[in-house]
């Protein structure tokens, strides 16, 4: 490993890492928002999407951001002020915490916790509190229904998310995300270790369940009941204006970027690219770019689902979670466990 020329005190390192993370998330939300929500969706609907702001409409999101910042911050009269004000912050906190363990390179991770994957799944369940607060705080019937629906859905889909990830954990033997990447780099499939062994090859069922569960965690169609425009008109976000709505938007796209990152770490081999030995320091440089490409691939899939499918009803959604996804995930764990012991 390279040693840095200057010796950074512990708190300086964390400060730098914090600043990097604090910059990465908004830009990630912008890039994801622009590339997929604007351009890809428009091309799928045979139109061009925004073309006015900046070349090919690239600065459209910045223009929107400024627009939202100067909007008036409206509180509904009967709303519970503190709960209403704090809800978007809680949702955003859970997004920021996701990035703590997302590895972009051997050393390029804020703090690689021993139980990294478990930390991700625990923090993902934090946003339920924020959503319930938003639903309850805005004193609006539609918001309350949206909040309750969101809580039911997020909890129901936490389980398949955890179980799908366990398949990978069994194969990698560790919860630490960086170690999972190394395990995928050095592992070999039936003796042939040439290009490393991303777990998607054996864990395809786990990958499918993980994607469906991520789609539900992000409340995107076909699981976007909480913000169903045509039914409850925006769900728990209906009363929010100005930069609070910005928090929700950044939370949504930040989490999408983070979950796509986690999916690419678990199933597509993280920052590792065949051809280089995983221990070399080069990965600190090219790691982020490799991860970016993989994240873009995974989120392309996520947003493709979003632009094509209609919405499920809650009872169908719960049935899908409890009767289809969880049994499948358990089956996947059993099979992986048995194979792990045999092979």
């Amino acid at each position: 490993m390279w040693t840095l020329a200057i010796e950074l005190a512990y708190w300086q390192q964390t400060a730098i890492k914090l600043v990097v993370v604090a910059l990465v998330i908004p830009t990630a939300a912008l890039i994801l928002g622009y590339v997929f929500l604007m351009k890809m969706m428009s091309f799928m609907q045979s139109r061009l999407g925004p073309m006015e702001a900046g070349p090919y409409g690239t600065l459209q999101l910045l223009a929107d951001g400024v627009k939202f910042l100067q909007k008036e911050d409206v509180f509904p009269r009967r709303a519970d002020r503190y709960v209403f004000a704090l809800a978007p912050v809680v949702v955003l906190v859970s997004t920021f915490l996701l990035y703590v363990v997302l590895p972009m390179g051997p050393d390029a991770v804020v703090s690689s916790l021993d139980a990294g994957l478990f930390f991700v799944l625990a923090v993902a369940s934090l946003s339920v509190i924020g959503v319930l607060m938003a639903g309850w705080g805005s004193a609006n019937k539609y918001a309350l229904m949206g909040g309750m629906r969101a809580a039911g859905q997020l909890i129901a889909y936490e389980l398949p998310l955890v179980l799908a990830a366990i398949g990978v954990v069994i194969q990698a033997g560790t919860l630490d995300l960086n170690k999972i990447v190394l395990a995928q780099a050095n592992g070999e499939l039936f003796g042939w270790g040439g290009m490393g062994f991303p777990y998607i090859l054996t864990q395809f069922l786990g990958f499918a369940i993980f994607l469906v569960a991520v789609q539900a965690e992000l409340t995107q169609p076909p699981f976007d009941m909480p913000v169903a425009e045509s039914e409850i008109v925006g769900g728990y976000q209906v009363e929010y204006t100005g930069f609070r709505f910005l928090f929700f938007f950044m939370g949504e796209f930040g989490t999408a970027f983070a979950f796509a990152g986690i999916a690419s770490v678990l199933f597509l081999g993280g920052w590792y690219v065949p051809g280089l030995d995983p221990a070399s320091g080069w990965f600190n440089l090219i790691g982020p770019f490799v991860m970016f490409i993989k994240i873009m691939a995974v989120s392309a899939l996520i947003f493709w689902f979003r632009f094509t499918f209609p919405r499920l009803r809650e009872d169908q959604l719960q049935k899908l979670a409890w009767k289809v996804l969880i049994p499948l995930a358990l089956l996947n764990i059993v099979v992986t466990g048995v194979l792990k012991v045999l092979v």
Binding site: M225, A228, S230, F307, F309
Partner: protein, 389 residues
């Protein structure tokens, strides 16, 4: 507290407790206004839904937010002026609104329309049906959450509107129908263009069939939702595709063509036995395809000849009354015209399809979930102007 008082209170409390022991989880129904301002209602319809949790106990539509008083307005206008008025009732397929009124007036005046005018009228009638139903096919998707179909619908509907505009001059409000014939003849090269548009519309139908109708999620959301049996549909006076989706084989174009040329074409009336939201969507998709084939047949067999019969310039319809109903894109639309022989009609009663199509909602929405309320509203496919007139 004296003994008797405590016993009395204990007795009352015990009785109250027993009475309530097996009461439902009483979250004492929340009334939700799927209000006049809501994306799922095509205009300003308000549904007062009493909910128990997510299930609808009772739903009651409230109409009249868009009542413009057409029937009264028609009484103070001359006949040509009334046509500019009534094509704003069902603003999506607006040429189809003018035709029954003009047919009723012609019936009163005993004017024989030249064959070419009748054929062109039927072509434009079917084109306005295409424009109207194409939007529904896409809109059903957006009500259920799919974002892309509605853009396909608007994109391909644009071609049909271009053709209507090329002939009549107006995309939405043609004002092309006159008593005794049409205002003008078809422009040159229009027939070949329309054939091309018909091919585009058929690819649009295939795309939507793949994108939406085949989709398991769409089927899960619509099959068995909002089932309307045939007798209920008839008793509520449903008409159009909603009726044919409940298995009733009744189509005004075939049963009483009255002035349009449907009897000279060979086409099929599509029905579906189930009567649920899926069936209504399926029937409308097949009818769109059928309309494209019909238009192509009419383009082939278009007779030559004049477009306008001999009609005095200042029209005075002789006294009398006439009722003519045709199969509009939304259902059966009829005009009952009473004339006292002066410049304008004395009284015009408009029977519009969506008014009856919506009256079935209290029956069909008992005990459904909130998202299904939106699915049923989307599948019944009403236009607010048509309801409130």
């Amino acid at each position: 507290m004296s003994v008797t008082e405590r016993e009395q209170r204990a007795f009352i409390a015990a009785a109250a407790a027993d009475a309530r022991v097996n009461v439902e989880l009483e979250t004492e129904g929340m009334t939700l206004n799927i209000g006049p301002q809501h994306p799922a209602t095509h205009g300003t319809l308000r549904i007062i839904a009493r909910l128990d949790g997510e299930q609808v106990v009772a739903a009651e539509p409230v109409m009249g937010y868009m009542h413009r008083g057409y029937e009264k307005l028609a009484e103070v206008r001359t006949y040509p002026q009334v046509t500019t008025l009534i094509n704003r009732i069902d603003w999506l397929g607006s040429f189809a609104n003018e035709v029954p009124f003009i047919l009723a007036a012609e019936q009163l005046m005993e004017v024989e329309v030249p064959p070419r005018a009748a054929w062109i009228r039927t072509i434009l009638f079917e084109l306005s049906r295409l424009a109207n139903i194409a939007l529904f096919l896409g809109d059903m998707g957006v009500q259920l959450g799919a974002l892309t179909p509605v853009f396909f619908a608007f994109r391909d509907r644009e071609f049909v509107l271009n053709q209507i505009e090329a002939v009549t001059g107006g995309r939405f409000h043609p004002n092309f129908d006159r008593i005794g014939g049409l205002k003008d003849d078809l422009p040159k090269g229009w027939i070949e263009e329309t054939r091309g548009v018909m091919v585009k519309m058929r690819t649009f139908c295939d795309e939507l069939e793949d994108l939406l109708m085949g989709n398991e999620i769409f089927e899960a959301r619509t099959r068995g939702v909002g089932v309307i049996p045939a007798d209920i549909a008839l008793s509520y006076g449903l008409s159009g595709a909603n009726l044919r989706a409940s298995g009733v084989d009744w189509d005004m174009r075939r049963d009483n063509p009255c002035g349009l040329v449907y009897d000279q074409l060979d086409w099929k009336v599509w029905t579906h036995p189930d009567g649920d939201s899926f069936a209504r969507y399926w029937v409308r998709l097949q009818e769109t395809r059928e309309a494209t084939y019909m238009v192509e047949q009419m383009l082939d067999g278009l007779p030559a000849g004049p477009v306008m019969a001999k009609v005095p310039v200042i029209i005075k319809v002789p006294a009398g009354e006439a009722y003519v109903a045709t199969e509009n894109p939304l259902g059966v639309m009829g005009y009952y015209v009473v004339s006292k022989g002066d410049l304008g009609p004395f009284r015009v009663k408009i029977r519009s399809a969506s008014f009856n199509n919506i009256s079935v909602t209290p029956w069909v929405m008992r005990g459904v979930y909130v998202p299904d309320v939106i699915t049923i509203l989307a599948s019944l496919y009403f236009i607010l102007g048509d309801i409130d007139r």
